[in-house]
Amino acid sequence: MRVHHDIVIVGGGLAGLRAAIAAAEKSKKLSIALISKTYPIRCHSVCAEGGTAAVLREGDSFDLHAWDTVKGADFLADQDAVEFFVRESPKEILRLDNWGCPWSRTEDGRIAQRAFGGQSFNRTVFAADRTGFHEVHTLYERTLMYPNIVRYDEYFMTNLVIEDGAARGIIAIELKSGDLVLFEAKAVILATGGAGRLFGFTTYSHQVTGDGMAIAYRCRVPLKDMEFFQFHPTGLVPSGILMTEACRGEGGYLRNKDGERFMERYAPERMELAPRDVVARSMWREIIEGRGIESEYGPYIALDLTHLGEEKIEERLPLIREAAKKFAGIDPVEEPIPVRPVAHYTMGGVHTNMWCETPVKGLYATGEVACISIHGANRLGSNSTAECLVFGRVAGEKAAEYALSTELRHVDDDIYREEEKRIFDEFLGRSGDESPYQIKKELNEVMDSSFWIFRDGNGMKEGFKKILELKERYRNVEIADNTRKFNTDMIYAFEVGFMLDLAEAVAAGAIARTESRGAHYRLDYPERDDENWLKHTLAYYTPDGPKLEYIPVTITKWQPVERKY
């Protein structure tokens, strides 16, 4: 089957929804397809809890937000993009307000803001601790007002179509029917999210398998800064479910087994509200030095909210209370929550400039799948949802402008037939003696051990070898289900294939970068090295593994200085 639209957006989370609205606002004449592998409101963005950063009130300033972001990023962020980002974020907050988002309010009815890690002003706008949930629902509801946004829910992208250096569309499986559909388009926007399920202990939804990132990479679009993976300080033990940074923003403490607020030894000024890389590293050090609290699920750190009182917890952190009760059997009003640092955010992604343009004409990337880069080596909390809103809009507008000035070029039948053959003749129902589930499990183990919070050269090289071995075994993978309709067995096998390629890019970038910066911390190179490494990594796919190149970081106002909190 073949359909065509002016713009095809892949991914129905915050960035994709925002892009769709932006494109639809640009012109009623544009036909916009919004394709997602789950229903849009089932995307991972709904799991964002704490808030969205924006400069709204007196006392705060764009420069301050930008500086916090650049310093938080350990100076690897592109400062022109950051300056643009902080200026655009406030308007997005107001748009969501006008579209119905139930932002938490002050008594006089104005939009409230709370404290967050690494942000030196209380600038995080929030909707209780369900910010992402309300943002997604608000945007989804808003898309229903535009007749030129056509949704394709539960379609799984298998490939991008690029010809003569320009995007021509994508190919996807409609899960319900099992049919393969070629979407022809003048412009394609990738908004498929991060790659967090590479790790075993993670806050990510099951669906976040880096599909768009991997497909772009295989189509020779470079990935940027993949070695930078964020570990959030507070993942609930044992499930990894996110316990928002707002727990600490609202005044929560981190304590070791002696009851000590150990952050005073690592970040005496910001304490629990230092940036995530600093807090996660401190917690990990406490744990490996034996000051974690022992449990049947391994050692943990206590996230103590008991002094906040029931009323505040109910008002500001209701989801946290509900989740802690349901998934750990603990009421945070009564006792501390068991937490451990947890894989949480992919700073790296598809290489774009600050207009979400990739090196391929007509191909855009936005949200977590993209690396613009405003987060550099470490993202600040509440900057990711803000990024999705600001750069979702940018991608939608840029794609719209491009589509309005371009003619649709039809894709050759052969391309569709080849993909059909690859999927249904060669992949579906194939026999082999490797289980995709087992390979995924072992991939998670190697990422959790070799590419975790503390890294070192030897460990990473071992890990890299193991990834290559898993890739080799994957060639012999079995897909037990040979039917077409809603074949989640085959989809899973696709996803594991994507993740193996991405793991290789993460590993290659991490091994090559012989310094410590932001979330990439090496025991064998514990210092930041601006002389040699103040640069972005670009990983290019080749059949023999990733080829690395480097490009400079854009610096406008702020020279790198020592990073203390």
Partner: protein, 237 residues
Amino acid sequence: MKVIFNIRRFDGEKDYWQSFAVPVFRGMTLLEGLFYIKENLDGSLAFRASCRMGVCGSCAVKVNGKPVLACETQISSVNSSKLDIEPIDNFRVIKDLVTDFEGFFRKHEAVKPYLIRNDDNYENPVELIQTPKQMKSYYTFSLCIKCGACYSVCPAAATRSDYLGPAAITAAWRFIADSRDEGKEERYEAVCGDNGVWRCHFAAECSEVCPKKVEPAKAVQKMRIRTALHAIKKVIL
């Protein structure tokens, strides 16, 4: 300890039950049990799952007759060594535990579930004022995750497949009760037709099974009163 997962399966043609023995650990969820089967016993088992923390609404299934979110249901809480697991009712089954939500989302769209304002200004939005008290009047209803549990137990939906159902009417009420909204009239029209609020039987089972305690039955009731007043007003004026 092992628990029997007795799953009602459907392969597109035939409908059958299949049992799996799942080793259970303390705190293990139903969803983890389903993944155990998929990863170790039968990769072809189809079910939906995403966030595994009760906010995305993907994984509603029927367990021993009651709809629940698989991700937030502890196996031990069902208190049975054998679980009968089925797709939720009132939805067409696509495969195994996966049901067709197409119609459900169309009904949601039909009630105009978005803020309608006369001064909608995309380029230059302004901050609207809404006090915490005003927000409270609709906030609970904004927590719906569209999991379909309410619709699956609704007797009105069982007899009339075109009935809008509790989730869609709750969505309409959520916006009508929002102090920022100016689209009430349009929405009354959308919900008071032949397939709308007057179909509700007041069974209130929807509120009982809602995993988010949204109380759709309350929203439907409030909506009935409001649409009745609206109808009277229309006749008088």
